[in-house]
Protein backbone atom coordinates (compact mmCIF):
# COMPACT_ATOMS: atom_id res chain seq x y z
CA UNK A 1 0.00 0.00 0.00
CA UNK A 2 1.43 3.36 -0.94
CA UNK A 3 1.36 6.20 1.58
CA UNK A 4 -1.05 8.15 -0.65
CA UNK A 5 -3.55 5.31 -0.54
CA UNK A 6 -3.06 4.80 3.18
CA UNK A 7 -3.74 8.44 3.95
CA UNK A 8 -7.09 8.50 2.19
CA UNK A 9 -8.34 4.94 2.68
CA UNK A 10 -10.79 3.91 5.31
CA UNK A 11 -10.39 0.57 6.95
CA UNK A 12 -12.23 -2.40 5.43
CA UNK A 13 -13.09 -3.94 8.80
CA UNK A 14 -14.79 -6.99 7.31
CA UNK A 15 -11.63 -7.80 5.37
CA UNK A 16 -9.53 -7.32 8.50
CA UNK A 17 -11.84 -9.53 10.56
CA UNK A 18 -11.64 -12.28 7.95
CA UNK A 19 -7.94 -12.52 8.76
CA UNK A 20 -8.60 -13.41 12.40
CA UNK A 21 -9.95 -16.98 12.62
CA UNK A 22 -10.68 -16.70 16.35
CA UNK A 23 -13.22 -13.94 15.77
CA UNK A 24 -15.56 -16.60 14.35
CA UNK A 25 -15.76 -18.17 17.83
CA UNK A 26 -19.07 -18.17 19.61
CA UNK A 27 -19.03 -17.56 23.36
CA UNK A 28 -21.97 -18.73 25.44
CA UNK A 29 -23.97 -19.06 22.26
CA UNK A 30 -23.26 -15.48 21.18
CA UNK A 31 -20.81 -14.15 18.61
CA UNK A 32 -17.55 -13.24 20.30
CA UNK A 33 -17.12 -9.51 20.85
CA UNK A 34 -13.46 -9.28 21.80
CA UNK A 35 -12.82 -6.03 23.63
CA UNK A 36 -9.77 -7.12 25.59
CA UNK A 37 -7.00 -6.40 23.12
CA UNK A 38 -5.25 -4.17 25.65
CA UNK A 39 -4.60 -7.35 27.64
CA UNK A 40 -3.56 -9.24 24.53
CA UNK A 41 -4.47 -8.83 20.88
CA UNK A 42 -5.71 -11.68 18.70
CA UNK A 43 -3.51 -12.94 15.88
CA UNK A 44 -4.03 -12.54 12.13
CA UNK A 45 -3.40 -15.39 9.69
CA UNK A 46 -0.26 -13.58 8.57
CA UNK A 47 1.28 -14.24 11.99
CA UNK A 48 -0.14 -17.72 12.50
CA UNK A 49 1.08 -18.80 9.06
CA UNK A 50 4.48 -17.12 9.31
CA UNK A 51 5.20 -19.12 12.46
CA UNK A 52 3.99 -22.39 10.94
CA UNK A 53 5.88 -21.74 7.71
CA UNK A 54 9.08 -21.01 9.60
CA UNK A 55 8.79 -24.27 11.54
CA UNK A 56 8.04 -26.17 8.33
CA UNK A 57 10.68 -24.67 6.09
CA UNK A 58 13.39 -22.74 7.91
CA UNK A 59 13.71 -23.84 11.50
CA UNK A 60 17.09 -24.43 13.16
CA UNK A 61 19.04 -22.74 15.93
CA UNK A 62 20.54 -19.34 15.23
CA UNK A 63 24.10 -17.98 15.29
CA UNK A 64 25.53 -21.48 15.56
CA UNK A 65 25.76 -23.78 12.58
CA UNK A 66 27.23 -23.37 9.15
CA UNK A 67 24.54 -25.55 7.70
CA UNK A 68 21.88 -24.19 5.41
CA UNK A 69 18.93 -24.18 7.79
CA UNK A 70 20.89 -22.51 10.56
CA UNK A 71 21.91 -19.80 8.16
CA UNK A 72 18.34 -19.43 7.01
CA UNK A 73 17.05 -19.22 10.58
CA UNK A 74 19.76 -16.73 11.55
CA UNK A 75 18.85 -14.64 8.54
CA UNK A 76 15.18 -14.61 9.52
CA UNK A 77 15.94 -13.81 13.16
CA UNK A 78 18.21 -10.91 12.29
CA UNK A 79 15.78 -9.69 9.63
CA UNK A 80 13.15 -9.62 12.39
CA UNK A 81 15.48 -7.46 14.47
CA UNK A 82 15.85 -5.07 11.55
CA UNK A 83 12.06 -5.06 11.16
CA UNK A 84 11.60 -4.08 14.80
CA UNK A 85 14.25 -1.37 14.43
CA UNK A 86 12.32 0.07 11.49
CA UNK A 87 9.07 -0.08 13.48
CA UNK A 88 10.69 1.97 16.24
CA UNK A 89 12.48 4.40 13.95
CA UNK A 90 15.83 3.13 15.24
CA UNK A 91 18.70 3.70 12.82
CA UNK A 92 20.56 0.46 13.58
CA UNK A 93 19.20 -3.05 14.31
CA UNK A 94 22.09 -3.56 16.75
CA UNK A 95 20.27 -1.13 19.07
CA UNK A 96 17.39 -3.62 19.43
CA UNK A 97 17.55 -6.40 22.04
CA UNK A 98 15.00 -9.18 21.83
CA UNK A 99 13.38 -9.86 25.19
CA UNK A 100 10.63 -12.09 26.51
CA UNK A 101 8.29 -9.13 26.97
CA UNK A 102 8.11 -5.44 27.79
CA UNK A 103 8.36 -6.51 31.42
CA UNK A 104 11.71 -8.12 30.73
CA UNK A 105 12.86 -5.03 28.83
CA UNK A 106 12.09 -2.87 31.87
CA UNK A 107 13.82 -5.30 34.22
CA UNK A 108 16.87 -5.35 31.96
CA UNK A 109 17.17 -1.58 32.10
CA UNK A 110 16.55 -1.55 35.85
CA UNK A 111 19.27 -4.06 36.62
CA UNK A 112 21.86 -3.38 33.93
CA UNK A 113 21.53 0.35 33.39
CA UNK A 114 20.12 1.77 36.63
CA UNK A 115 21.52 -0.47 39.32
CA UNK A 116 25.21 0.35 38.75
CA UNK A 117 24.37 4.06 38.66
CA UNK A 118 22.15 4.33 41.74
CA UNK A 119 23.24 5.14 45.28
CA UNK A 120 21.61 6.54 48.42
CA UNK A 121 20.44 10.08 47.67
CA UNK A 122 19.46 9.13 44.13
CA UNK A 123 15.94 8.48 42.94
CA UNK A 124 13.97 6.73 40.23
CA UNK A 125 10.90 8.65 39.12
CA UNK A 126 7.82 6.77 37.96
CA UNK A 127 4.31 8.05 37.34
CA UNK A 128 1.13 7.25 39.20
CA UNK A 129 -0.31 5.57 36.08
CA UNK A 130 2.37 2.90 35.71
CA UNK A 131 1.65 -0.77 35.23
CA UNK A 132 3.15 -2.90 38.00
CA UNK A 133 5.86 -3.93 35.52
CA UNK A 134 7.17 -0.37 35.57
CA UNK A 135 6.97 -0.04 39.35
CA UNK A 136 8.18 -3.28 40.88
CA UNK A 137 11.54 -3.63 39.04
CA UNK A 138 12.43 -0.11 40.20
CA UNK A 139 11.42 -0.86 43.78
CA UNK A 140 13.63 -3.93 43.67
CA UNK A 141 16.59 -1.94 42.37
CA UNK A 142 15.97 0.85 44.88
CA UNK A 143 15.98 -1.71 47.67
CA UNK A 144 19.47 -2.97 46.83
CA UNK A 145 20.97 0.44 46.01
CA UNK A 146 19.39 2.61 48.70
CA UNK A 147 17.87 4.88 46.07
CA UNK A 148 14.34 6.26 46.47
CA UNK A 149 11.27 5.79 44.32
CA UNK A 150 9.41 9.04 43.67
CA UNK A 151 6.04 9.28 41.98
CA UNK A 152 4.70 11.94 39.64
CA UNK A 153 0.92 12.21 40.15
CA UNK A 154 -1.90 12.27 37.62
CA UNK A 155 -4.83 14.70 37.61
CA UNK A 156 -8.53 13.87 37.72
CA UNK A 157 -8.64 13.38 33.96
CA UNK A 158 -5.87 10.84 34.19
CA UNK A 159 -3.25 13.11 32.65
CA UNK A 160 0.26 13.25 34.01
CA UNK A 161 0.98 16.35 36.12
CA UNK A 162 3.95 17.67 34.15
CA UNK A 163 4.37 20.54 36.59
CA UNK A 164 4.79 18.06 39.44
CA UNK A 165 7.12 15.92 37.35
CA UNK A 166 9.27 18.98 36.65
CA UNK A 167 9.27 19.90 40.34
CA UNK A 168 10.35 16.41 41.38
CA UNK A 169 13.26 16.66 38.95
CA UNK A 170 14.65 19.81 40.58
CA UNK A 171 17.45 19.48 43.15
CA UNK A 172 15.21 21.11 45.75
CA UNK A 173 12.86 18.11 45.66
CA UNK A 174 15.22 16.17 47.89
CA UNK A 175 16.90 13.55 45.77
CA UNK A 176 18.77 13.33 42.48
CA UNK A 177 16.55 11.66 39.91
CA UNK A 178 18.73 9.44 37.73
CA UNK A 179 16.01 7.60 35.85
CA UNK A 180 12.52 8.57 34.71
CA UNK A 181 10.44 5.48 33.90
CA UNK A 182 7.19 6.32 32.20
CA UNK A 183 4.45 4.59 30.28
CA UNK A 184 3.76 5.85 26.74
CA UNK A 185 0.09 4.85 26.80
CA UNK A 186 -1.65 3.92 30.06
CA UNK A 187 -3.09 0.41 29.88
CA UNK A 188 -5.79 1.24 32.41
CA UNK A 189 -6.87 4.71 31.22
CA UNK A 190 -5.63 5.02 27.65
CA UNK A 191 -3.83 8.29 28.42
CA UNK A 192 -1.10 9.10 25.89
CA UNK A 193 1.86 10.71 27.62
CA UNK A 194 3.89 13.51 25.99
CA UNK A 195 7.12 11.52 25.94
CA UNK A 196 9.12 14.09 23.96
CA UNK A 197 8.39 16.74 26.57
CA UNK A 198 9.08 14.35 29.44
CA UNK A 199 12.40 13.44 27.81
CA UNK A 200 13.35 17.10 27.54
CA UNK A 201 12.54 17.76 31.20
CA UNK A 202 14.35 14.63 32.34
CA UNK A 203 17.44 15.27 30.25
CA UNK A 204 17.64 18.86 31.48
CA UNK A 205 17.81 17.35 34.97
CA UNK A 206 20.40 14.77 33.95
CA UNK A 207 18.05 11.77 34.14
CA UNK A 208 17.70 8.99 31.59
CA UNK A 209 14.23 8.16 30.21
CA UNK A 210 12.86 4.63 29.98
CA UNK A 211 9.56 4.23 28.15
CA UNK A 212 7.13 1.34 28.56
CA UNK A 213 5.57 1.19 25.10
CA UNK A 214 3.59 -2.04 25.53
CA UNK A 215 0.24 -0.30 25.09
CA UNK A 216 1.44 2.27 22.56
CA UNK A 217 2.88 -0.10 19.97
CA UNK A 218 -0.49 -1.25 18.58
CA UNK A 219 -1.91 2.27 18.35
CA UNK A 220 0.77 4.87 17.66
CA UNK A 221 3.55 5.51 15.17
CA UNK A 222 6.72 5.24 17.20
CA UNK A 223 9.92 7.12 16.47
CA UNK A 224 12.46 6.82 19.24
CA UNK A 225 14.46 9.68 17.75
CA UNK A 226 11.53 12.09 17.93
CA UNK A 227 10.53 10.83 21.38
CA UNK A 228 14.00 11.63 22.63
CA UNK A 229 14.01 8.81 25.16
CA UNK A 230 16.96 6.59 26.07
CA UNK A 231 15.21 3.23 26.22
CA UNK A 232 11.93 2.06 24.71
CA UNK A 233 10.38 -1.37 25.16
CA UNK A 234 7.27 -3.14 23.92
CA UNK A 235 5.86 -6.66 23.76
CA UNK A 236 4.85 -8.68 20.73
CA UNK A 237 1.53 -10.01 21.92
CA UNK A 238 -0.20 -6.65 22.24
CA UNK A 239 0.74 -5.71 18.67
CA UNK A 240 -0.90 -8.79 17.09
CA UNK A 241 2.28 -10.86 17.42
CA UNK A 242 3.15 -13.89 19.53
CA UNK A 243 3.51 -14.05 23.30
CA UNK A 244 6.95 -14.58 24.79
CA UNK A 245 8.69 -12.06 22.55
CA UNK A 246 9.34 -8.38 23.07
CA UNK A 247 12.01 -5.88 22.25
CA UNK A 248 14.06 -3.23 23.96
CA UNK A 249 15.60 -0.35 22.09
CA UNK A 250 18.45 1.50 23.78
CA UNK A 251 20.86 4.25 22.88
CA UNK A 252 23.95 2.45 21.57
CA UNK A 253 26.37 4.26 23.87
CA UNK A 254 24.28 3.26 26.91
CA UNK A 255 23.83 -0.35 25.80
CA UNK A 256 27.59 -0.56 25.25
CA UNK A 257 28.28 0.49 28.86
CA UNK A 258 25.85 -1.96 30.39
CA UNK A 259 26.99 -5.22 31.98
CA UNK A 260 25.32 -8.44 30.85
CA UNK A 261 21.96 -9.48 32.09
CA UNK A 262 22.04 -13.27 32.11
CA UNK A 263 25.05 -15.43 31.29
CA UNK A 264 25.07 -18.25 28.79
CA UNK A 265 25.59 -19.15 25.20
CA UNK A 266 25.40 -16.53 22.46
CA UNK A 267 26.34 -13.61 24.74
CA UNK A 268 30.09 -14.24 24.76
CA UNK A 269 33.14 -13.64 22.60
CA UNK A 270 35.38 -16.08 24.42
CA UNK A 271 34.99 -18.23 27.52
CA UNK A 272 37.70 -19.75 29.67
CA UNK A 273 37.57 -20.70 33.34
CA UNK A 274 39.80 -17.72 34.08
CA UNK A 275 37.76 -15.09 32.26
CA UNK A 276 34.90 -14.53 29.85
CA UNK A 277 34.75 -11.76 27.30
CA UNK A 278 31.23 -10.62 26.55
CA UNK A 279 29.79 -10.04 23.14
CA UNK A 280 28.80 -6.48 22.21
CA UNK A 281 25.10 -5.52 22.27
CA UNK A 282 22.60 -6.77 21.38
CA UNK A 283 24.00 -10.33 21.71
CA UNK A 284 25.35 -9.47 25.18
CA UNK A 285 21.76 -9.33 26.45
CA UNK A 286 20.45 -12.42 24.66
CA UNK A 287 21.92 -15.40 26.50
CA UNK A 288 20.74 -18.81 25.38
CA UNK A 289 18.67 -19.89 22.42
CA UNK A 290 16.24 -17.04 21.85
CA UNK A 291 12.55 -17.19 20.94
CA UNK A 292 13.42 -17.46 17.26
CA UNK A 293 9.97 -18.19 15.95
CA UNK A 294 8.53 -15.50 18.20
CA UNK A 295 10.80 -12.94 16.56
CA UNK A 296 9.72 -14.17 13.13
CA UNK A 297 6.07 -13.94 14.16
CA UNK A 298 6.58 -10.46 15.57
CA UNK A 299 8.13 -9.28 12.31
CA UNK A 300 5.15 -10.73 10.44
CA UNK A 301 2.79 -8.88 12.80
CA UNK A 302 4.56 -5.56 12.22
CA UNK A 303 4.52 -6.12 8.44
CA UNK A 304 0.83 -6.89 8.62
CA UNK A 305 -0.06 -3.91 10.83
CA UNK A 306 1.92 -1.48 8.72
CA UNK A 307 0.34 -2.81 5.53
CA UNK A 308 -3.00 -1.48 6.82
CA UNK A 309 -1.58 1.99 7.25
CA UNK A 310 -0.92 3.31 10.73
CA UNK A 311 -3.08 6.41 10.25
CA UNK A 312 -5.98 4.36 8.92
CA UNK A 313 -5.80 2.04 11.93
CA UNK A 314 -5.57 4.96 14.34
CA UNK A 315 -8.54 6.73 12.75
CA UNK A 316 -10.65 3.57 13.00
CA UNK A 317 -9.76 3.00 16.65
CA UNK A 318 -10.41 6.63 17.54
CA UNK A 319 -13.84 6.41 15.94
CA UNK A 320 -14.64 3.33 18.03
CA UNK A 321 -13.39 5.05 21.18
CA UNK A 322 -15.53 8.11 20.50
CA UNK A 323 -18.59 5.96 19.82
CA UNK A 324 -18.07 3.94 23.00
CA UNK A 325 -17.39 7.03 25.09
CA UNK A 326 -20.64 8.55 23.84
CA UNK A 327 -22.78 5.41 24.30
CA UNK A 328 -21.47 4.39 27.72
CA UNK A 329 -21.24 7.99 28.87
CA UNK A 330 -24.96 8.38 28.15
CA UNK A 331 -25.99 5.47 30.40
CA UNK A 332 -27.04 6.80 33.82
CA UNK A 333 -24.94 5.17 36.54
CA UNK A 334 -21.96 4.54 34.30
CA UNK A 335 -18.82 6.45 35.26
CA UNK A 336 -15.93 6.66 32.84
CA UNK A 337 -12.46 6.67 34.41
CA UNK A 338 -9.88 8.57 32.43
CA UNK A 339 -10.77 11.47 30.17
CA UNK A 340 -7.34 12.59 29.01
CA UNK A 341 -7.34 14.82 25.94
CA UNK A 342 -4.98 12.45 24.16
CA UNK A 343 -6.20 8.88 24.54
CA UNK A 344 -5.71 5.54 22.86
CA UNK A 345 -8.71 3.27 22.40
CA UNK A 346 -9.07 2.10 25.99
CA UNK A 347 -12.22 2.79 28.01
CA UNK A 348 -12.28 2.09 31.74
CA UNK A 349 -15.66 2.34 33.41
CA UNK A 350 -17.65 1.66 36.54
CA UNK A 351 -21.29 0.68 36.77
CA UNK A 352 -22.96 1.99 39.92
CA UNK A 353 -24.06 -0.85 42.17
CA UNK A 354 -22.40 -3.55 40.06
CA UNK A 355 -18.85 -4.60 40.87
CA UNK A 356 -16.46 -4.76 37.91
CA UNK A 357 -16.14 -8.54 38.21
CA UNK A 358 -19.86 -8.97 38.03
CA UNK A 359 -19.92 -6.66 35.01
CA UNK A 360 -17.25 -8.88 33.46
CA UNK A 361 -19.24 -12.07 34.06
CA UNK A 362 -22.51 -10.60 32.82
CA UNK A 363 -20.88 -9.18 29.69
CA UNK A 364 -19.25 -12.55 29.03
CA UNK A 365 -22.68 -14.14 29.05
CA UNK A 366 -23.46 -11.79 26.15
CA UNK A 367 -20.27 -12.87 24.36
CA UNK A 368 -18.49 -9.62 25.25
CA UNK A 369 -14.94 -10.04 26.55
CA UNK A 370 -13.67 -7.16 28.68
CA UNK A 371 -11.05 -6.96 31.37
CA UNK A 372 -12.30 -6.56 34.92
CA UNK A 373 -9.92 -5.82 37.74
CA UNK A 374 -7.12 -3.52 38.75
CA UNK A 375 -5.28 -3.86 35.41
CA UNK A 376 -1.95 -4.41 37.19
CA UNK A 377 -2.13 -0.76 38.16
CA UNK A 378 -3.26 -0.83 41.79
CA UNK A 379 -1.72 2.54 42.77
CA UNK A 380 -3.67 4.16 39.92
CA UNK A 381 -6.88 2.47 41.05
CA UNK A 382 -6.26 3.88 44.52
CA UNK A 383 -5.73 7.33 43.03
CA UNK A 384 -9.25 7.14 41.61
CA UNK A 385 -10.60 5.56 44.79
CA UNK A 386 -11.74 2.34 43.14
CA UNK A 387 -10.73 -1.28 43.68
CA UNK A 388 -11.36 -2.33 40.12
CA UNK A 389 -12.82 -1.15 36.84
CA UNK A 390 -14.20 -2.83 33.77
CA UNK A 391 -12.13 -2.00 30.72
CA UNK A 392 -13.11 -2.26 27.09
CA UNK A 393 -10.29 -1.83 24.60
CA UNK A 394 -10.75 -1.45 20.88
CA UNK A 395 -8.50 -2.84 18.20
CA UNK A 396 -8.28 -2.76 14.45
CA UNK A 397 -10.76 -5.65 14.10
CA UNK A 398 -13.55 -4.18 16.22
CA UNK A 399 -16.71 -2.64 14.79
CA UNK A 400 -19.25 0.01 15.69
CA UNK A 401 -21.83 -2.75 16.08
CA UNK A 402 -19.64 -4.40 18.71
CA UNK A 403 -19.50 -1.14 20.63
CA UNK A 404 -23.30 -1.11 20.56
CA UNK A 405 -23.40 -4.71 21.82
CA UNK A 406 -21.16 -3.61 24.69
CA UNK A 407 -23.48 -0.77 25.63
CA UNK A 408 -26.53 -3.05 25.51
CA UNK A 409 -24.75 -5.62 27.69
CA UNK A 410 -23.87 -2.95 30.25
CA UNK A 411 -27.53 -1.96 30.37
CA UNK A 412 -28.37 -5.63 30.95
CA UNK A 413 -25.98 -5.78 33.89
CA UNK A 414 -27.77 -2.81 35.40
CA UNK A 415 -31.16 -4.51 34.92
CA UNK A 416 -30.00 -7.66 36.65
CA UNK A 417 -28.80 -5.67 39.65
CA UNK A 418 -31.66 -3.16 39.60
Amino acid sequence: MTPEVAATATLDVAAVRAQFPILQTRVNGKPLVYLDSAASAQKPLAVIEAEARFYRESYANVHRGVHTLSQRATGAYEAARARVARFLGAPDPAQVVFTRSATEGLNLVAWCYARPRLAPGDAVLVTEMEHHSNIVPWQMVCEVTGAKLVVAPVDDRGELRLDELARLLTPGAGSRVKVVACVHVSNALGTINPIAEISRLAHDAGAAVVVDGAQAAPHLAIDVGALGCDFYTFSGHKVYGPTGIGALWGRPELLAEMPPWQGGGDMILHVSFAKTDYAPPPARFEAGTPHIVGAVGLAAALDWLESLGQEVVAAHEQELLAHATELLGAIPGVRLIGSARAKASVLSFLVAGVHAHDVGTILDAEGVAVRAGHHCAQPLMERFGVAATARASFAVYNTREEVETLAAAVAKAQELFA
Partner: protein
Protein backbone atom coordinates in the same frame (compact mmCIF):
# COMPACT_ATOMS: atom_id res chain seq x y z
CA UNK B 1 -23.35 -22.67 30.26
CA UNK B 2 -26.09 -22.18 32.77
CA UNK B 3 -28.23 -19.10 32.84
CA UNK B 4 -26.84 -16.01 34.52
CA UNK B 5 -29.73 -16.14 36.93
CA UNK B 6 -28.33 -19.44 38.28
CA UNK B 7 -25.28 -17.48 39.38
CA UNK B 8 -27.04 -14.30 40.38
CA UNK B 9 -29.94 -15.83 42.24
CA UNK B 10 -32.29 -13.54 44.12
CA UNK B 11 -30.70 -14.51 47.44
CA UNK B 12 -27.27 -13.55 46.13
CA UNK B 13 -28.46 -10.21 44.79
CA UNK B 14 -30.33 -9.52 48.02
CA UNK B 15 -27.30 -10.22 50.22
CA UNK B 16 -25.09 -8.21 47.88
CA UNK B 17 -27.30 -5.15 48.07
CA UNK B 18 -28.18 -5.53 51.76
CA UNK B 19 -25.32 -7.39 53.39
CA UNK B 20 -26.19 -8.79 56.83
CA UNK B 21 -23.96 -8.37 59.88
CA UNK B 22 -21.85 -5.86 58.00
CA UNK B 23 -19.40 -3.77 59.98
CA UNK B 24 -17.06 -4.21 62.86
CA UNK B 25 -18.50 -6.68 65.36
CA UNK B 26 -18.61 -5.36 68.91
CA UNK B 27 -16.74 -7.54 71.38
CA UNK B 28 -15.17 -9.73 68.69
CA UNK B 29 -12.71 -12.25 70.08
CA UNK B 30 -11.19 -13.31 66.80
CA UNK B 31 -10.62 -11.53 63.53
CA UNK B 32 -8.88 -12.27 60.26
CA UNK B 33 -8.44 -10.53 56.94
CA UNK B 34 -8.68 -12.18 53.58
CA UNK B 35 -7.51 -10.82 50.26
CA UNK B 36 -7.72 -12.03 46.71
CA UNK B 37 -4.76 -10.44 44.91
CA UNK B 38 -6.15 -11.43 41.53
CA UNK B 39 -9.17 -9.17 41.78
CA UNK B 40 -8.51 -7.07 44.88
CA UNK B 41 -11.46 -8.39 46.87
CA UNK B 42 -10.99 -7.82 50.59
CA UNK B 43 -12.90 -9.23 53.52
CA UNK B 44 -12.49 -9.06 57.26
CA UNK B 45 -14.31 -11.63 59.39
CA UNK B 46 -15.10 -11.02 63.06
CA UNK B 47 -16.05 -13.81 65.44
CA UNK B 48 -17.39 -13.39 68.96
CA UNK B 49 -17.02 -16.59 70.94
CA UNK B 50 -18.95 -18.05 73.82
CA UNK B 51 -16.68 -20.94 74.65
CA UNK B 52 -16.87 -23.37 71.77
CA UNK B 53 -19.84 -21.58 70.29
CA UNK B 54 -19.80 -18.76 67.71
CA UNK B 55 -21.90 -16.21 69.51
CA UNK B 56 -21.75 -13.74 66.64
CA UNK B 57 -20.11 -13.39 63.24
CA UNK B 58 -19.67 -10.16 61.29
CA UNK B 59 -17.78 -8.97 58.25
CA UNK B 60 -16.43 -5.93 56.51
CA UNK B 61 -14.86 -5.54 53.13
CA UNK B 62 -15.31 -4.71 49.50
CA UNK B 63 -15.76 -7.01 46.61
CA UNK B 64 -18.06 -8.34 43.95
CA UNK B 65 -21.61 -9.58 44.45
CA UNK B 66 -20.44 -13.15 44.88
CA UNK B 67 -17.84 -12.42 47.55
CA UNK B 68 -20.12 -10.00 49.42
CA UNK B 69 -23.11 -12.35 49.34
CA UNK B 70 -20.97 -15.31 50.35
CA UNK B 71 -19.62 -13.43 53.38
CA UNK B 72 -23.07 -12.16 54.31
CA UNK B 73 -24.62 -15.64 54.06
CA UNK B 74 -21.72 -17.02 56.07
CA UNK B 75 -22.39 -14.70 58.99
CA UNK B 76 -26.03 -15.75 59.14
CA UNK B 77 -25.32 -19.44 58.75
CA UNK B 78 -22.66 -19.62 61.43
CA UNK B 79 -24.06 -17.57 64.25
CA UNK B 80 -24.84 -19.89 67.16
CA UNK B 81 -22.94 -22.87 65.77
CA UNK B 82 -20.09 -24.66 67.47
CA UNK B 83 -16.59 -24.65 66.05
CA UNK B 84 -16.84 -28.27 64.84
CA UNK B 85 -20.18 -27.43 63.19
CA UNK B 86 -18.58 -24.44 61.53
CA UNK B 87 -15.83 -26.66 60.21
CA UNK B 88 -18.40 -29.13 58.86
CA UNK B 89 -20.21 -26.32 57.14
CA UNK B 90 -16.95 -25.04 55.65
CA UNK B 91 -16.25 -28.51 54.27
CA UNK B 92 -19.72 -28.81 52.78
CA UNK B 93 -19.64 -25.35 51.21
CA UNK B 94 -16.14 -25.90 49.89
CA UNK B 95 -17.16 -29.22 48.35
CA UNK B 96 -20.19 -27.58 46.74
CA UNK B 97 -18.17 -24.67 45.30
CA UNK B 98 -15.25 -26.67 44.01
CA UNK B 99 -17.07 -29.82 42.90
CA UNK B 100 -17.34 -31.05 39.34
CA UNK B 101 -19.75 -28.62 37.64
CA UNK B 102 -21.03 -31.35 35.32
CA UNK B 103 -22.54 -33.20 38.28
CA UNK B 104 -25.28 -31.81 40.47
CA UNK B 105 -24.08 -30.55 43.81
CA UNK B 106 -24.76 -33.12 46.49
CA UNK B 107 -26.28 -32.55 49.81
CA UNK B 108 -27.20 -28.91 49.29
CA UNK B 109 -30.43 -29.25 51.21
CA UNK B 110 -28.79 -29.11 54.61
CA UNK B 111 -26.94 -26.00 53.47
CA UNK B 112 -30.14 -23.99 53.42
CA UNK B 113 -29.67 -20.54 51.90
CA UNK B 114 -26.00 -21.29 51.27
CA UNK B 115 -27.12 -23.58 48.45
CA UNK B 116 -27.69 -20.38 46.46
CA UNK B 117 -23.92 -20.26 46.01
CA UNK B 118 -23.95 -23.52 44.04
CA UNK B 119 -24.20 -21.66 40.72
CA UNK B 120 -20.65 -20.39 41.22
CA UNK B 121 -19.17 -23.78 40.37
CA UNK B 122 -20.09 -23.21 36.73
CA UNK B 123 -17.81 -20.15 36.71
CA UNK B 124 -14.27 -21.30 37.53
CA UNK B 125 -12.94 -17.74 37.57
CA UNK B 126 -15.44 -16.80 40.25
CA UNK B 127 -15.05 -19.71 42.67
CA UNK B 128 -12.38 -17.86 44.65
CA UNK B 129 -14.74 -14.92 45.07
CA UNK B 130 -17.10 -17.24 46.93
CA UNK B 131 -14.49 -19.12 48.96
CA UNK B 132 -12.62 -16.04 50.20
CA UNK B 133 -14.88 -15.39 53.20
CA UNK B 134 -14.81 -19.07 54.17
CA UNK B 135 -11.03 -19.32 54.15
CA UNK B 136 -10.92 -16.10 56.11
CA UNK B 137 -13.33 -17.54 58.66
CA UNK B 138 -11.00 -20.50 59.14
CA UNK B 139 -8.10 -18.15 59.69
CA UNK B 140 -10.17 -16.20 62.23
CA UNK B 141 -11.09 -19.34 64.15
CA UNK B 142 -7.44 -20.39 64.18
CA UNK B 143 -6.21 -16.97 65.26
CA UNK B 144 -5.11 -15.94 68.71
CA UNK B 145 -7.91 -14.28 70.61
CA UNK B 146 -8.50 -10.59 69.92
CA UNK B 147 -5.37 -9.81 67.95
CA UNK B 148 -5.11 -10.32 64.28
CA UNK B 149 -4.03 -13.35 62.30
CA UNK B 150 -1.80 -13.33 59.24
CA UNK B 151 -3.81 -12.25 56.17
CA UNK B 152 -4.87 -15.22 54.10
CA UNK B 153 -5.15 -15.40 50.38
CA UNK B 154 -7.10 -17.57 48.01
CA UNK B 155 -4.36 -17.25 45.41
Amino acid sequence: MSELTDLYQDIILDHCKRPRNFGQLAGADQVAEGYNPLCGDKVKIYVRRDGDRLDGVGFEGSGCAISTASASLLTEALAGRTVPEAQQLFDAVHAMLTGDPSRPAEDTERLGKLAALAGVREYPMRVKCATLAWHTLQAALASDPVRRATPVSTE
